[in-house]
Symmetry: C2
């Protein structure tokens, strides 16, 4: 038995997310079907992050155990030959049998892309969130709001209500903000993210940038853990899992 780690890029537009669902296609299912085709085995793959419907990934990481004799680095080639164009295996390599892509992940990098033009974009519209209040955004406020999220905090107020996670303390190491033309790209690097956390933080930062949330009240949300004080959950299609880091 060998344990194979793969790095996956996918366009999540037409999928119900990473995880196998009863209704609708999932990335996990597509890859497992491809593995069945090339190995004949029924393989369960473990993804580092369970991305939601419509969310993309440039660096999702997963692992699976197989009896197949295919050389580890050739799995990428073999899988890509049977997968459709929405899903691309960027790398494959053998890792110790003890490796678990989710439990062993040390940190993750997500990006969220906003388009602030007056009208929605035609190009790349499946990868960016068009904000209708773009011209009212104050980039200084946006950056100041983002700074509040860096560090170790109780992010309970920035988790989708209904989640059952008990420990809601996470650390965000860094938030990098890039501007290019009418696009704003925010990179979040942290040791872990609660359900919808990146999307709610982004919604909060956006609301802070237009004065709809008072920047100085962001620390209160950490204290109260009150989801209703935070901003909207921005839509999934602006989100991309860029990279998963391991030791």
């Amino acid at each position: 038995m060998r344990n194979i780690r793969i790095i996956i890029e996918y366009d999540g537009t037409n999928y119900n997310g990473w995880q196998i669902q009863k209704n609708g296609p999932s990335i996990q299912e597509e890859i497992q079907k491809a593995l069945k085709k090339i190995t004949g085995e029924d393989i369960n793959i473990i993804g580092a992050g369970r991305t939601d419907a419509g969310v993309h990934a440039r660096g999702q990481t997963a692992n699976f155990v197989t009896k197949s004799k295919i050389p580890a680095d050739k799995f990428a080639w073999a899988l890509n030959s049977v997968l459709n164009e929405d899903i691309v295996i960027k790398e494959s390599e053998e890792v110790p049998l003890s490796f678990h892509s989710r439990y062993d992940a040390k940190s993750k990098l997500y990006s969220y892309t906003i388009y602030r033009g007056l009208f929605p974009p035609a190009i790349m519209r499946h990868y960016v969130y068009h904000v209708r209040f773009g011209k009212h955004m104050d980039m200084d406020k946006l950056r100041k709001a983002a700074d509040y999220f860096i560090g170790t905090h109780d992010f309970k107020g920035f988790m989708a209500s209904g989640s059952k996670v008990k420990n809601t303390v996470r650390t965000i190491y860094n938030i990098k903000i890039e501007e290019e033309l009418e696009y704003i790209k925010m990179f979040y690097h942290g040791n872990g993210f609660l359900y919808n956390m990146v999307r709610i933080i982004t919604g909060t930062i956006l609301y802070a940038s237009i004065g709809k949330i008072d920047i100085n009240q962001i620390p209160d949300i950490f204290i109260t853990g009150d989801r209703d004080m935070a901003g909207i959950t921005v839509p999934p299609h602006g989100l991309c899992l860029e990279k998963v880091y391991y030791d």
Copy 2:
């Protein structure tokens, strides 16, 4: 009668290019149909650049003459309300009746985006050209090759064979090259471009970067005008008309 100038963004993936064709949809036709819907008039629009099938635009510019009483700046709103998501009018304004979007264009900015990862990209695959020789590319050579094209040259050797244009002298003011992860984006700003010129120059620069064309022989192509000495015509989907400049 008023003359209206519009700036257009489009995803050219599913179109036979800008210009009305007998077979297949065109951007021009879609906009003219939208104009018919909102004004009732049969309007012929003039585009600054006749982009090919599959080519995108973020800043195509066009103009048309109309009797409609719609305020000039409201044409964008009205057109966007009837156009499909592939085409977005970013701006509309009234210009003098003498204005002609093609003849009056002083310069144009095109971008060409390359992806040099081992496997094709899943995300943004309709907007980038995947080169299979990515790991053999030498960025120093690429930049040096690009430098040869800046300035005023006879670009006859970099024009699709069969074109009937007589004056093949053009000026490229600047070529800017941006690198981000596995993406390379090249911006070409020039006073005008011959048919397929950006795509052939890009193909030549790419071939130079892997030593398939000797950089020092690029000036010879200007002298001989021999299309066969230049590189391949890279595919249309990496190309985007970013902006058209006027006085």
